[in-house]
């Protein structure tokens, strides 16, 4: 989780990722940010996030994104 928070902080340093649960709904992350995150995640965690997983529920919070990474690692 620490590594993920570090990646997210690099995208927007002023966001409190530990409490924010509306990263997509409130337009904090745009499509450019999402791709940057996925690219970083793929090199950091050796997991590929497919396009069909790019839905608000998976990106609205750091925790949701972390759960997605864990799920994909398990598959």
């Amino acid at each position: 989780m620490e590594e993920l928070l570090k990646i997210l902080k690099e995208i927007h340093s002023d966001v409190d990722y530990e409490t924010c649960t509306t990263l997509i709904d409130d337009g904090i992350l745009d499509s450019f940010d999402i791709i940057s995150i996925i690219t970083e995640v793929s090199s950091e965690f050796d997991v590929q996030i497919p396009a069909n997983e790019i839905v608000p529920e998976n990106f609205n919070s750091a925790e949701a994104l972390w759960k997605l990474i864990e799920r994909l690692e398990d598959e």
């Binding site: 745009d30 499509s31 450019f32 999402i34 791709i35 940057s36 996925i38 690219t39 970083e40 793929s42 090199s43 590929q48 996030i49 497919p50 396009a51 069909n52 790019i54 598959e75």
Partner: protein, 526 residues
């Protein structure tokens, strides 16, 4: 059959009457019959193309669904005891087959679109490069083909991704592809959204019906009073570029922005309104785009369903594809982290905007239009930290005045890119825009020259008042739907009187006359 015709109104009246009379389980069948009837007006040959798309997508969806069900059943039954790696290998094997079926469906349909829409463009490029003289094939573009093929391709990709199960009933699926209000110019609906209300049953609800009728009337108001009036001046200004330079180019940017907005949003209002009258919810395609503060926001609010289609089915898959991630990794190693992490995003953005331009039309002006949009978006993205610092330093980023300036800037920036549509000549467009700085004819604004563009003084007054009404409605929409907040809260007698008034206004001030083509919705040609 054009929306703006008595024939369409008669068709609609008969359809509505039957729709709320037949047994409810037959409503969607009636809609399918109505859609086929509507489409047949565009020519029987057009029906062949839409049938090929509907049936090929339907059967591909069914096949993918069967493979997916068999996979799930196997993994729950016989394959339950397999180890993780074996399960993974089995899933990959099935995925390969479903991918093949989806790909064949995409190739067939997008290939059909490419042949019909882009063959002549390809021939013109070959003729230009190799100095050959190959004749053009001049295929007639079937009505709405870009819209229904994209809608169907969205469906098959979603089924492949397992987002939802395929529709089992072929007739129901055909209605999804051919639902008549959205055949002409979209929106590009998603199956999981549209199917919630498309198949009914629907009881007649006076309030819902009235809401829909208001929206239809509002669409006709924009289309007939504003767009079809402005088109005369737009054609004249863009048709004689040597004659109309300088201030006329600025006027063309403004006039075309008004015309396109009134035309496209008016058409979509009619589509959504007709669907509402039938009790069906169609996706919104606009969110007052001229209030956007920047071009990225503009594209989130203009032609929304096309933007999200390109984002979900091209931009994201491309950006996160293994090949793109490899490119990203390579560019990080070779070019450094800062540039490397931008590569997949910007490369995908360029490809998507190239495709968006091409989707709009088989011509260089559309491709350059797409790439210019892309360039502005990338520059904005790169400059955003600088803007942030600038705004923080001077502290006016959220003031109303600055927001108005941003809207004004976005409106004109988009307007200047958009005139590529009307000049249809890339060097010619740049040359014309250049004349703004070299031709001193601003005095023509006041000497009556603008009254020689095919619009009289009264026409300009009507357009001005019409635009004032559109602007007022857009501002009122800040607090929700005008229909709900203002119109539908009045007593029935007042509501009827107001509706009669808008119909009367359309009848009296709608543009008819020489050169007027009621069928010509701008987005219908795409």
């Amino acid at each position: 059959m054009s929306f703006v015709s008595l024939g369409f109104l008669a068709f609609l009246a008969v359809l509505m009457l039957l729709y709320y009379t037949v047994p409810k389980r037959g409503q969607w069948i009636l809609l399918l019959a109505g859609s086929v009837f509507f489409y047949a007006f565009a020519g029987w040959s057009s029906l062949i193309f839409i049938t090929v798309t509907a049936l090929s997508t339907y059967f591909a969806g069914i096949y993918i669904g069967k493979l997916a069900s068999a996979r799930d059943a196997y993994l729950k039954g016989e394959g339950k005891e397999l180890d993780k790696e074996a399960k993974k290998a089995y899933k990959a094997k099935v995925k390969k087959r479903t991918y093949l079926i989806m790909s064949l469906c995409l190739i067939l349909n997008l290939g059909m679109l490419a042949v019909i829409k882009y063959t002549d463009f390809g021939i013109s490029i070959i003729n230009g490069i190799f100095k050959t003289n190959i004749g053009f094939l001049r295929f007639a573009l079937p009505m709405g083909i870009s819209f229904y093929i994209f809608q169907s391709m969205g469906y098959i990709i979603d089924v492949y991704r397992g987002k939802y199960a395929p529709e089992k009933n072929v007739a129901r699926f055909c209605l999804f592809v051919s639902f008549f209000p959205q055949l002409l110019q979209g929106p590009i609906s998603r199956f999981d959204e549209l199917s919630k209300t498309l198949y009914g049953p629907h009881d007649f609800d006076w309030d819902k019906f009235a809401r829909g009728a208001w929206r239809v009337a509002w669409g006709f108001f924009k289309k007939m009073i504003i767009a079809d009036r402005m088109i005369t001046a737009v054609i004249k200004l863009s048709g004689s570029p040597d004659q109309y330079k300088g201030v006329y180019v600025v006027a063309l940017v403004l006039f075309y922005a008004i015309e396109l907005y009134a035309d496209f949003t008016g058409g979509i209002d009619i589509t959504i309104g007709v669907a509402e009258m039938l009790g069906i919810q169609v996706a919104e395609n606009f969110d007052r785009p001229f209030f956007s503060l920047n071009i990225t926001e503009y594209w989130r609010r203009w032609h929304i369903t096309m933007g999200t289609w390109f984002k979900d089915y091209i931009f994201y898959p491309l950006s996160v594809s293994p090949k793109m991630l490899k490119i990203s990794k390579w560019s990080r190693e070779k070019l450094g982290n800062a540039i490397g992490k931008r590569v997949p995003v910007y490369l995908s953005t360029i490809i998507v905007w190239f495709a968006t331009g091409l989707w709009h039309g088989a011509a260089w002006n559309f491709i350059v239009w797409g790439l210019l949009n892309c360039l502005v978006i990338i520059i904005s993205q790169e400059l955003s930290p600088l803007y942030g610092k600038f705004h923080k330093r001077f502290g006016f980023s959220n003031t109303k005045g600055y927001n108005v300036f941003q809207m004004f800037r976005t409106f004109w920036l988009m307007g200047f890119i958009r005139v590529l549509d009307v000049y249809r000549d890339v060097p010619g467009t740049f040359k014309q825009v250049g004349t703004i700085f070299t031709t001193a004819n601003w005095g023509d604004l006041f000497n009556g020259s603008f009254l020689e563009l095919g619009l009289g003084r009264q026409d300009f007054i009507v357009v001005l008042i019409g635009c004032g009404i559109m602007l007022t409605v857009s501002i009122l929409q800040n607090k929700g739907q005008v229909r709900d907040n203002i119109l539908l809260k009045r007593p029935v007698a007042i509501r009827l009187a107001m509706f009669a008034l808008i119909v009367l206004l359309i009848a009296v001030f709608g543009a008819y006359g020489i050169g007027y083509d009621a069928g010509a919705f701008i987005y219908g040609q795409f």
